[in-house]
């Protein structure tokens, strides 16, 4: 398909122009990671919970066919309409056809990464439907005509000054007022009017239970509930991997989700939708969009265990310093980098390389996805399939030569250390990307090998 207009490295460079802001972004997300740690360490059973969650998801992936059939039958018994979409386009058409059947051209939507993945808003806008995102962070970026930069904290790339200016322009708040309390109140009033007047609400799905046909939606703001309980029609959209076998399994996942995401013991609302309210119509759209292909890739199927907590974003040294928009895909961060190549290898070939492979993502993942191993494996696949840029191929050939010739390797090291100490201008210049947005450490006088040989002589 198409190549991304700009790759992760180029987009990161733009994000890194404002050093103070990058530092703030880095520290803020690290603070969220620390809140997660505090919660995780306060439960002695934390690792048991991760193990259980991972094993439940293993079972789900190995029995998805039957669970989905069971879920569909139960949901239909509960009076819910169930739709299946093979891809994003079909998902968008299904949602649009429900809107058309009801003659509705305005709707509210709570957070759903799936609809971002399918580009639902753009599709509906083209077809004359107004969509209002009701999660505060999503509403902010929607007004600014930007995509979310984080799946849990959509506006984390913005400072309160930016939000103040955006609300001044769109909601008429006082110019220069950047008080979060004041701005949140303005959004509350603005969105309350939308909740009260829109006839159709769309929500995402956090978990869907095969045993009962119900689905669970978690929010802190209460926006999913305000939308769904006031609307005549509720559409819930889910990737098919959201299935859990039984209701009791929610106990494991609700203990892990908010603790991993924001360091809260649970989200404010965990809403269990089983049947439509009297007089209401309820639809569930089950989406594939590449998931069945990923399920067949033994090395990568574990990525389908993801519960979208974003703990891997908050801990990732690359994400924290490059920002969500540099990933040019609906789901950024380490997990996004292993999901995106499955959707479009050519367009997302840069993303598995946007990592140091430090492994922190795998260590915090509540369902134990081997994220950094998969990043490494995607690199092999991408190079084999011919998606590596020429510069990288040439560099790799150079490295292969150097590393297989010890004399060349030693000479190279010597030259490098000499240049760093005596002629830094030779390496610290615009031609060497290692020096952009980075201070280099002082070069040692001798290599480890030289030191070791000397030590043996003494």
């Amino acid at each position: 398909m198409s190549h991304a207009t700009q790759d992760h490295a180029t987009l990161s460079k733009q994000f890194n122009k404002d050093e103070a802001r990058v530092n703030w972004h880095d520290e803020t997300l690290w603070f969220v990671r620390q809140k997660r740690d505090k919660m995780a360490f306060s439960l002695s059973e934390w690792e048991l919970l991760r193990g259980a969650a991972s094993a439940i998801k293993d079972n789900v992936l190995s029995n998805l066919h039957d669970y989905l059939v069971e879920f569909e039958a139960k949901a239909q018994q509960n009076g819910v309409h169930v739709h299946w979409a093979a891809n994003g386009a079909e998902h968008n058409q299904i949602v649009h056809s429900i809107l058309k059947n009801h003659g509705v051209t305005q709707m509210v939507k709570s957070k759903s990464m799936l609809t971002e993945e399918c580009h639902l808003n753009e599709y509906l806008a083209k077809n004359g439907v107004e969509v209002i995102d009701t999660d505060l962070g999503e509403r902010i970026v929607q007004m600014r005509e930007e995509p979310p930069s984080h799946i849990v904290l959509p506006a984390i790339h913005l400072k309160k000054e930016d939000v103040g200016e955006t609300f001044h322009q769109h909601l008429g708040t006082e110019k220069g007022n950047k008080d979060p309390q004041y701005l949140t109140e303005a959004a509350r009033q603005h969105l309350r009017e939308k909740f009260l007047t829109r006839k159709l609400a769309l929500t995402g799905v956090n978990f869907a239970i095969a045993e009962t046909g119900e689905f669970v939606v978690c929010t802190n703001e209460g926006n999913a509930d305000m939308g769904a309980h006031l609307a005549d029609v509720h559409i819930a959209c889910m990737g098919f991997e959201k299935i859990l076998p039984k209701r009791e399994h929610l106990g494991v996942f609700l203990r892990l989700l908010a603790r991993s995401a924001t360091g809260q013991p649970i989200t404010t609302y965990s809403s269990h939708f089983k049947k439509p309210r009297e007089g209401q119509e309820m639809h569930i759209v089950i989406v594939d969009n590449g998931r069945s292909t990923q399920l067949g890739r033994a090395d990568f199927r574990n990525s389908l265990k993801c519960i979208r907590c974003a703990a891997c974003f908050n801990t990732c040294p690359v994400y924290r310093r490059s920002g969500g928009h540099s990933y040019h895909t609906a789901i950024a961060g380490p997990i996004g980098s292993i999901l995106a190549p499955n959707l479009d290898m050519a367009r997302n070939a840069d993303l598995p390389f946007a990592s140091t492979l430090c492994g922190s993502c795998s260590n915090v993942c509540p369902v134990k996805i081997d994220i950094h191993d998969q990043l490494y494996k995607w690199r092999q696949v991408l190079v084999q399939e011919g998606h590596a840029p020429l510069s990288k191929k040439l560099m790799m050939r150079g490295m292969t030569f150097t590393l297989s010739n010890p004399k060349v390797y030693r000479l190279g090291g010597k030259i490098g250390r000499w240049a760093l100490r005596n002629a830094p201008f030779m390496v610290n210049n615009g031609l060497n990307p290692w020096f952009s947005q980075r201070d280099m450490p002082e070069a040692p006088k001798e290599s480890f090998r030289e030191w070791y040989l000397k030590r043996q002589k003494e």
Binding site: E45, L48, A52, A55, I56, L61, S62, N63, H65, V69, W84, A86, E90, L136, G137, L153, I156, L158, K159, K160, V163, P180, Q181, T184, R192, L196, T212, N220, E221, G222, D225, M226, H229, L230, F240, R247, E248, G251, V252, L254, R255, T262, Q264, P265, I266, T267, T268, Y269, S270, S271, H272, K274, P276, R277, I286, D288, S292, T293, L295, R301
Partner: protein, 211 residues
């Protein structure tokens, strides 16, 4: 007429095609069956449930009011909420201070509710969440659309963790059920915590002690 019928059947077929295609691809690509793990031993908490409940609720922005009887609840409500505004409840014993006959109305009619008073089925100590189902809500939107929410919870009805919570829910049938933990909140503007996003701005839990 025939053409319309044909189109209708064709539409159904296309709809069915995606379903069957997706399910066939899943059946082909899913790995060999792996067993479900046991859920026993996942609660290793050592806290005292009621104390933990109170501490966690305070830490997430809720208020605890310990009471011995309904008279104390009435007194608290009279003293702490703006009188003259609309109060609603699902509990008939509070009819003297709140409307009780509203559950058949259009949900939009609850737009101006200042206080909603209801009973929680049970609470969860580890996260201070309270479980309520449709019957206890009067209307699904009621605990969200009100400016302030107050929940009466029996101090005996507190389970330690979510595992016991789902044991207690069991296979109960409901149209809608929700765990509510604290007031509605957001930190979407620069990670600054603000209480009162779209749902209730405050949450008071009346913890009823005694028998």
């Amino acid at each position: 007429m025939k053409a319309v019928f044909y189109l209708f059947i064709n539409g159904l077929k296309i709809k069915k095609m995606s379903r069957d295609k997706i399910l066939a691809a899943i059946r082909q690509n899913q790995p060999a069956l792996k067993p479900l793990p046991s859920l026993s031993g996942l609660n290793q908490c050592t806290f005292e449930a009621k104390e933990q409940y109170k501490n966690v609720l305070k830490s997430i922005g809720g208020h605890i009011v310990e009471v011995d009887n309904e008279t104390e609840i009435v007194q608290y409500i009279r003293e702490n909420y703006t009188q003259g505004h609309r109060f609603i409840t699902t509990l008939p014993q509070f009819a003297p201070i709140a409307e009780t006959n509203w559950s058949d109305n259009d949900p939009h009619d609850l737009e101006n509710v200042e206080l909603m008073l209801m009973a929680g089925t049970f609470g969860v100590a580890e996260n201070s969440a309270i479980w309520v189902t449709e019957g206890g809500l009067g209307q699904r939107v009621a605990p969200f659309i009100c400016q302030n929410l107050a929940i009466v919870l029996n101090a005996h009805d507190i389970v330690p963790t979510m595992h016991e919570a789902y044991e207690r829910i069991g296979s109960a049938d409901y149209g809608f059920g929700v765990f509510i933990a604290g007031p509605s909140k957001t930190a979407d503007i620069e990670q600054s915590l603000v209480l009162g996003a779209h749902g209730a701005r405050t949450l008071v839990v009346f913890l009823v002690n005694g028998a």
